[in-house]
Symmetry: C2
Subunit: 195 residues, 2 copies
Protein backbone atom coordinates (compact mmCIF):
# COMPACT_ATOMS: atom_id res chain seq x y z
CA UNK A 1 0.00 0.00 0.00
CA UNK A 2 1.35 3.41 -0.91
CA UNK A 3 1.58 6.14 1.68
CA UNK A 4 -1.20 8.71 1.87
CA UNK A 5 -0.16 12.36 2.04
CA UNK A 6 -2.57 15.19 2.79
CA UNK A 7 -2.31 18.59 1.10
CA UNK A 8 -4.04 21.32 3.08
CA UNK A 9 -6.20 23.19 0.59
CA UNK A 10 -9.86 23.79 -0.10
CA UNK A 11 -9.12 24.62 -3.72
CA UNK A 12 -9.81 21.75 -6.14
CA UNK A 13 -7.77 23.39 -8.90
CA UNK A 14 -4.76 23.73 -6.65
CA UNK A 15 -5.05 20.07 -5.67
CA UNK A 16 -5.23 19.07 -9.34
CA UNK A 17 -2.19 21.18 -10.22
CA UNK A 18 -0.12 19.90 -7.31
CA UNK A 19 -1.10 16.31 -8.18
CA UNK A 20 0.31 17.00 -11.64
CA UNK A 21 3.50 18.54 -10.25
CA UNK A 22 4.07 15.55 -7.96
CA UNK A 23 3.03 12.82 -10.44
CA UNK A 24 5.58 10.03 -11.04
CA UNK A 25 7.46 9.87 -14.33
CA UNK A 26 6.45 7.26 -16.91
CA UNK A 27 8.89 4.64 -15.69
CA UNK A 28 8.28 5.33 -11.98
CA UNK A 29 5.79 3.61 -9.71
CA UNK A 30 3.76 5.96 -7.48
CA UNK A 31 5.12 6.00 -3.94
CA UNK A 32 2.25 7.96 -2.41
CA UNK A 33 -1.30 9.03 -3.05
CA UNK A 34 -2.37 12.61 -2.54
CA UNK A 35 -5.61 13.73 -0.91
CA UNK A 36 -6.64 17.10 0.43
CA UNK A 37 -8.11 18.46 3.64
CA UNK A 38 -9.86 21.79 3.78
CA UNK A 39 -8.64 23.09 7.14
CA UNK A 40 -8.44 26.80 7.85
CA UNK A 41 -5.05 27.11 9.49
CA UNK A 42 -3.84 30.20 11.33
CA UNK A 43 -0.90 31.97 9.74
CA UNK A 44 1.65 33.89 11.74
CA UNK A 45 3.13 37.27 11.15
CA UNK A 46 6.84 36.78 10.63
CA UNK A 47 9.76 38.15 8.69
CA UNK A 48 10.66 34.56 7.76
CA UNK A 49 8.68 32.71 5.08
CA UNK A 50 10.12 29.44 6.36
CA UNK A 51 8.85 30.13 9.86
CA UNK A 52 5.35 30.95 8.62
CA UNK A 53 5.20 27.66 6.70
CA UNK A 54 6.76 25.68 9.54
CA UNK A 55 4.22 26.90 12.09
CA UNK A 56 1.38 26.38 9.63
CA UNK A 57 2.26 22.73 9.05
CA UNK A 58 2.74 22.21 12.81
CA UNK A 59 -0.85 23.36 13.23
CA UNK A 60 -1.93 21.01 10.44
CA UNK A 61 -0.23 18.08 12.18
CA UNK A 62 -2.27 18.84 15.33
CA UNK A 63 -5.52 18.54 13.33
CA UNK A 64 -4.70 15.17 11.77
CA UNK A 65 -4.34 11.64 13.17
CA UNK A 66 -0.85 10.82 14.46
CA UNK A 67 1.43 9.49 11.75
CA UNK A 68 -0.40 11.29 8.92
CA UNK A 69 2.00 13.02 6.54
CA UNK A 70 0.86 16.45 5.42
CA UNK A 71 2.08 19.53 3.59
CA UNK A 72 1.11 23.17 3.21
CA UNK A 73 2.26 25.77 0.74
CA UNK A 74 2.43 29.54 0.93
CA UNK A 75 3.37 31.89 -1.88
CA UNK A 76 4.94 35.29 -1.28
CA UNK A 77 5.55 38.22 -3.60
CA UNK A 78 8.62 40.17 -2.56
CA UNK A 79 9.41 43.63 -3.99
CA UNK A 80 13.13 44.43 -4.20
CA UNK A 81 12.55 48.04 -3.07
CA UNK A 82 10.41 46.83 -0.18
CA UNK A 83 13.24 44.61 1.00
CA UNK A 84 11.14 41.45 0.68
CA UNK A 85 7.69 42.81 1.50
CA UNK A 86 4.72 42.53 1.02
CA UNK A 87 6.04 38.93 1.02
CA UNK A 88 3.62 36.52 2.63
CA UNK A 89 1.20 39.41 3.26
CA UNK A 90 0.61 39.83 -0.49
CA UNK A 91 -2.68 37.92 -0.25
CA UNK A 92 -4.06 40.57 2.12
CA UNK A 93 -2.99 43.38 -0.21
CA UNK A 94 -4.50 41.61 -3.19
CA UNK A 95 -7.76 41.12 -1.33
CA UNK A 96 -7.86 44.72 -0.04
CA UNK A 97 -6.60 46.61 -3.07
CA UNK A 98 -6.81 44.42 -6.15
CA UNK A 99 -4.02 44.00 -8.74
CA UNK A 100 -4.26 47.52 -10.30
CA UNK A 101 -3.44 49.27 -7.05
CA UNK A 102 -0.68 46.81 -6.19
CA UNK A 103 1.20 48.04 -9.27
CA UNK A 104 0.85 51.59 -7.93
CA UNK A 105 2.58 50.59 -4.69
CA UNK A 106 5.76 50.83 -6.78
CA UNK A 107 4.99 54.13 -8.55
CA UNK A 108 7.50 55.90 -6.29
CA UNK A 109 10.29 53.50 -7.20
CA UNK A 110 12.19 53.09 -10.45
CA UNK A 111 13.18 49.52 -9.67
CA UNK A 112 10.16 47.27 -10.27
CA UNK A 113 12.09 44.10 -9.47
CA UNK A 114 10.29 41.41 -7.50
CA UNK A 115 10.72 37.81 -6.53
CA UNK A 116 7.98 35.23 -6.23
CA UNK A 117 8.64 32.62 -3.55
CA UNK A 118 6.72 29.47 -2.80
CA UNK A 119 7.47 27.73 0.47
CA UNK A 120 6.30 24.18 1.02
CA UNK A 121 6.41 22.71 4.51
CA UNK A 122 6.10 18.94 4.71
CA UNK A 123 5.36 17.24 8.02
CA UNK A 124 6.36 13.59 7.71
CA UNK A 125 4.74 10.58 9.40
CA UNK A 126 7.03 11.08 12.40
CA UNK A 127 6.00 14.73 12.72
CA UNK A 128 9.37 15.97 11.46
CA UNK A 129 9.16 19.10 9.32
CA UNK A 130 10.98 19.63 6.02
CA UNK A 131 11.03 22.93 4.14
CA UNK A 132 11.29 23.33 0.35
CA UNK A 133 11.42 26.66 -1.41
CA UNK A 134 11.25 27.77 -5.01
CA UNK A 135 12.12 31.27 -6.22
CA UNK A 136 11.51 33.07 -9.51
CA UNK A 137 12.75 36.57 -10.24
CA UNK A 138 10.80 39.04 -12.33
CA UNK A 139 9.28 42.48 -12.30
CA UNK A 140 5.94 44.11 -11.55
CA UNK A 141 4.18 45.45 -14.64
CA UNK A 142 0.78 46.93 -15.51
CA UNK A 143 -1.73 44.04 -15.52
CA UNK A 144 -1.64 41.99 -18.74
CA UNK A 145 -3.51 38.78 -19.46
CA UNK A 146 -6.68 37.42 -17.88
CA UNK A 147 -6.98 38.41 -14.20
CA UNK A 148 -7.98 34.90 -13.24
CA UNK A 149 -5.36 33.99 -10.68
CA UNK A 150 -4.18 36.39 -7.98
CA UNK A 151 -1.28 38.60 -9.09
CA UNK A 152 -0.34 36.45 -12.12
CA UNK A 153 -1.37 39.31 -14.46
CA UNK A 154 1.23 41.70 -13.02
CA UNK A 155 4.29 39.49 -12.59
CA UNK A 156 6.61 39.21 -15.58
CA UNK A 157 9.27 36.57 -14.90
CA UNK A 158 12.81 37.15 -16.21
CA UNK A 159 13.14 33.52 -17.30
CA UNK A 160 10.09 33.78 -19.59
CA UNK A 161 9.83 35.38 -23.00
CA UNK A 162 8.38 38.70 -21.89
CA UNK A 163 4.87 37.67 -20.93
CA UNK A 164 3.26 37.87 -17.52
CA UNK A 165 2.35 34.63 -15.75
CA UNK A 166 -1.26 35.29 -16.80
CA UNK A 167 -0.23 35.53 -20.47
CA UNK A 168 1.77 32.31 -20.44
CA UNK A 169 0.63 28.81 -21.32
CA UNK A 170 0.29 26.70 -18.18
CA UNK A 171 3.04 24.31 -19.32
CA UNK A 172 5.44 27.20 -19.98
CA UNK A 173 4.66 28.78 -16.64
CA UNK A 174 5.21 25.43 -14.94
CA UNK A 175 8.74 25.26 -16.36
CA UNK A 176 9.85 28.37 -14.51
CA UNK A 177 7.40 29.12 -11.72
CA UNK A 178 8.44 29.27 -8.08
CA UNK A 179 5.64 26.81 -7.28
CA UNK A 180 6.86 24.12 -9.64
CA UNK A 181 10.42 24.63 -8.35
CA UNK A 182 9.29 24.14 -4.75
CA UNK A 183 7.19 21.09 -5.60
CA UNK A 184 10.00 19.60 -7.69
CA UNK A 185 12.08 19.63 -4.52
CA UNK A 186 9.31 18.03 -2.49
CA UNK A 187 8.83 15.42 -5.24
CA UNK A 188 12.51 14.58 -5.31
CA UNK A 189 12.54 14.24 -1.55
CA UNK A 190 9.52 11.94 -1.51
CA UNK A 191 10.86 9.70 -4.28
CA UNK A 192 14.41 9.57 -2.93
CA UNK A 193 13.29 8.88 0.61
CA UNK A 194 11.22 5.93 -0.67
CA UNK A 195 14.08 4.53 -2.76
Amino acid sequence: MVQNIVFITGNENKLKEVKMLLAPGESEAPVFELTNANIDLPEMQSGSLEEIARIKVSEALKHLPEGQAVFVEDTALCFDEYNGLPGAYIKWFLKSMGPEKIVRMLDGFENKGAEAVTTVAYGDSEGKIHIFQGRTKGKIVEPRGPPTFGWDCLFEPIEGSGGTYAEMEKKDKNKISQRSKAFAQLKEYLYTKAA
Copy 2:
Protein backbone atom coordinates in the same frame (compact mmCIF):
# COMPACT_ATOMS: atom_id res chain seq x y z
CA MET B 1 -5.08 44.48 48.32
CA VAL B 2 -5.50 45.94 44.83
CA GLN B 3 -5.63 43.69 41.81
CA ASN B 4 -2.45 43.10 39.82
CA ILE B 5 -2.67 43.48 36.04
CA VAL B 6 0.12 42.45 33.68
CA PHE B 7 0.94 44.41 30.54
CA ILE B 8 2.81 42.32 27.97
CA THR B 9 5.77 44.42 26.90
CA GLY B 10 9.54 44.32 27.12
CA ASN B 11 9.73 48.07 26.62
CA GLU B 12 10.24 50.06 29.83
CA ASN B 13 9.17 53.31 28.17
CA LYS B 14 5.92 51.81 26.97
CA LEU B 15 5.23 50.50 30.46
CA LYS B 16 5.89 53.95 31.91
CA GLU B 17 3.63 55.63 29.38
CA VAL B 18 0.80 53.16 29.86
CA LYS B 19 1.12 53.51 33.64
CA MET B 20 0.59 57.23 33.14
CA LEU B 21 -2.38 56.71 30.82
CA LEU B 22 -4.03 54.38 33.35
CA ALA B 23 -3.17 56.35 36.51
CA PRO B 24 -6.10 57.25 38.78
CA GLY B 25 -7.29 60.85 38.98
CA GLU B 26 -6.38 62.93 42.02
CA SER B 27 -9.53 62.05 43.93
CA GLU B 28 -9.53 58.37 42.93
CA ALA B 29 -7.98 55.49 44.82
CA PRO B 30 -5.97 53.07 42.67
CA VAL B 31 -7.93 49.91 41.91
CA PHE B 32 -5.08 47.96 40.38
CA GLU B 33 -1.31 47.90 40.13
CA LEU B 34 0.40 47.45 36.81
CA THR B 35 3.44 45.26 36.18
CA ASN B 36 4.89 44.01 32.93
CA ALA B 37 5.96 40.65 31.51
CA ASN B 38 8.33 40.41 28.59
CA ILE B 39 6.80 37.52 26.66
CA ASP B 40 7.29 37.16 22.93
CA LEU B 41 3.78 36.35 21.73
CA PRO B 42 2.95 35.06 18.26
CA GLU B 43 0.83 37.40 16.15
CA MET B 44 -1.57 36.15 13.54
CA GLN B 45 -2.13 37.33 10.03
CA SER B 46 -5.68 38.60 9.84
CA GLY B 47 -7.80 41.25 8.17
CA SER B 48 -9.26 42.05 11.60
CA LEU B 49 -7.25 44.07 14.13
CA GLU B 50 -9.59 42.88 16.86
CA GLU B 51 -8.91 39.25 16.01
CA ILE B 52 -5.14 39.76 16.05
CA ALA B 53 -5.34 41.33 19.52
CA ARG B 54 -7.83 38.75 20.79
CA ILE B 55 -5.63 35.81 19.79
CA LYS B 56 -2.54 37.55 21.16
CA VAL B 57 -4.08 38.02 24.61
CA SER B 58 -5.38 34.43 24.55
CA GLU B 59 -1.78 33.32 24.09
CA ALA B 60 -0.73 35.61 26.95
CA LEU B 61 -3.34 34.05 29.25
CA LYS B 62 -1.84 30.62 28.52
CA HIS B 63 1.58 31.82 29.69
CA LEU B 64 0.37 33.25 33.01
CA PRO B 65 -1.02 31.69 36.19
CA GLU B 66 -4.79 31.14 36.13
CA GLY B 67 -6.72 34.16 37.30
CA GLN B 68 -4.03 36.66 36.26
CA ALA B 69 -5.47 39.63 34.42
CA VAL B 70 -3.40 40.74 31.44
CA PHE B 71 -3.53 43.03 28.43
CA VAL B 72 -1.73 43.47 25.14
CA GLU B 73 -1.79 46.32 22.67
CA ASP B 74 -1.14 46.49 18.96
CA THR B 75 -0.97 49.61 16.83
CA ALA B 76 -1.84 49.64 13.14
CA LEU B 77 -1.35 52.28 10.45
CA CYS B 78 -4.05 52.08 7.81
CA PHE B 79 -3.78 53.92 4.48
CA ASP B 80 -7.12 55.00 2.97
CA GLU B 81 -6.01 54.05 -0.54
CA TYR B 82 -4.78 50.69 0.69
CA ASN B 83 -8.20 49.98 2.15
CA GLY B 84 -6.82 49.58 5.67
CA LEU B 85 -3.39 48.15 4.92
CA PRO B 86 -0.51 47.94 5.85
CA GLY B 87 -2.56 47.94 9.09
CA ALA B 88 -1.08 45.65 11.73
CA TYR B 89 1.72 44.74 9.30
CA ILE B 90 3.12 48.30 9.48
CA LYS B 91 5.81 47.18 11.95
CA TRP B 92 7.23 44.79 9.34
CA PHE B 93 7.27 47.51 6.70
CA LEU B 94 8.93 49.94 9.07
CA LYS B 95 11.57 47.37 9.95
CA SER B 96 12.21 46.39 6.32
CA MET B 97 11.99 49.77 4.61
CA GLY B 98 12.32 52.54 7.17
CA PRO B 99 10.08 55.63 7.35
CA GLU B 100 11.37 57.39 4.17
CA LYS B 101 10.34 54.55 1.89
CA ILE B 102 6.99 54.11 3.63
CA VAL B 103 6.06 57.62 2.46
CA ARG B 104 6.90 56.53 -1.10
CA MET B 105 4.41 53.66 -0.86
CA LEU B 106 1.83 56.41 -1.48
CA ASP B 107 3.62 58.23 -4.32
CA GLY B 108 1.17 56.71 -6.80
CA PHE B 109 -1.84 58.03 -4.90
CA GLU B 110 -3.11 61.56 -4.46
CA ASN B 111 -4.98 60.73 -1.29
CA LYS B 112 -2.47 60.48 1.56
CA GLY B 113 -5.15 59.87 4.17
CA ALA B 114 -4.42 57.35 6.90
CA GLU B 115 -5.80 56.21 10.20
CA ALA B 116 -3.80 55.11 13.21
CA VAL B 117 -5.53 52.45 15.28
CA THR B 118 -4.54 51.05 18.63
CA THR B 119 -6.28 47.89 19.77
CA VAL B 120 -6.04 46.82 23.40
CA ALA B 121 -7.15 43.34 24.36
CA TYR B 122 -7.71 42.78 28.07
CA GLY B 123 -8.03 39.26 29.46
CA ASP B 124 -9.74 39.48 32.86
CA SER B 125 -9.20 37.26 35.90
CA GLU B 126 -11.85 34.87 34.58
CA GLY B 127 -10.13 34.62 31.21
CA LYS B 128 -12.82 36.68 29.47
CA ILE B 129 -11.51 38.96 26.75
CA HIS B 130 -12.48 42.62 26.27
CA ILE B 131 -11.44 44.71 23.28
CA PHE B 132 -10.87 48.49 23.32
CA GLN B 133 -9.93 50.48 20.27
CA GLY B 134 -8.80 54.05 19.67
CA ARG B 135 -8.64 55.70 16.25
CA THR B 136 -7.00 58.90 15.03
CA LYS B 137 -7.26 60.15 11.46
CA GLY B 138 -4.47 61.97 9.69
CA LYS B 139 -2.26 61.89 6.65
CA ILE B 140 1.13 60.54 5.63
CA VAL B 141 3.72 63.28 5.06
CA GLU B 142 7.46 63.51 4.38
CA PRO B 143 9.24 62.73 7.69
CA ARG B 144 9.34 65.71 10.06
CA GLY B 145 10.57 65.74 13.64
CA PRO B 146 12.99 63.39 15.40
CA PRO B 147 12.77 59.85 14.03
CA THR B 148 12.79 58.39 17.51
CA PHE B 149 9.57 56.43 17.56
CA GLY B 150 8.41 54.24 14.68
CA TRP B 151 6.35 56.14 12.10
CA ASP B 152 5.58 59.13 14.37
CA CYS B 153 7.64 61.39 12.09
CA LEU B 154 5.40 60.75 9.08
CA PHE B 155 1.92 60.84 10.58
CA GLU B 156 0.22 64.24 10.76
CA PRO B 157 -3.03 63.94 12.71
CA ILE B 158 -6.04 66.02 11.62
CA GLU B 159 -6.92 66.85 15.22
CA GLY B 160 -3.51 68.45 15.84
CA SER B 161 -2.22 71.84 14.76
CA GLY B 162 -0.35 70.69 11.68
CA GLY B 163 2.60 68.92 13.27
CA THR B 164 3.51 65.27 12.95
CA TYR B 165 3.33 63.10 16.07
CA ALA B 166 7.12 63.38 16.26
CA GLU B 167 6.93 67.19 16.29
CA MET B 168 4.30 67.34 19.03
CA GLU B 169 4.81 67.67 22.77
CA LYS B 170 4.05 64.37 24.48
CA LYS B 171 1.14 65.89 26.41
CA ASP B 172 -0.40 67.29 23.21
CA LYS B 173 0.03 63.99 21.42
CA ASN B 174 -1.57 62.19 24.35
CA LYS B 175 -4.68 64.34 23.99
CA ILE B 176 -5.44 63.02 20.52
CA SER B 177 -3.48 59.84 19.93
CA GLN B 178 -5.16 56.53 19.14
CA ARG B 179 -3.19 54.94 21.96
CA SER B 180 -4.48 57.29 24.63
CA LYS B 181 -8.04 56.87 23.29
CA ALA B 182 -7.76 53.09 23.54
CA PHE B 183 -6.26 53.21 27.03
CA ALA B 184 -8.86 55.75 28.18
CA GLN B 185 -11.48 53.11 27.36
CA LEU B 186 -9.57 50.41 29.23
CA LYS B 187 -9.16 52.76 32.18
CA GLU B 188 -12.84 53.58 32.27
CA TYR B 189 -13.68 49.89 32.12
CA LEU B 190 -11.31 49.01 34.95
CA TYR B 191 -12.54 51.81 37.21
CA THR B 192 -16.23 51.26 36.47
CA LYS B 193 -16.00 47.52 36.93
CA ALA B 194 -14.44 48.02 40.35
CA ALA B 195 -17.07 50.54 41.40
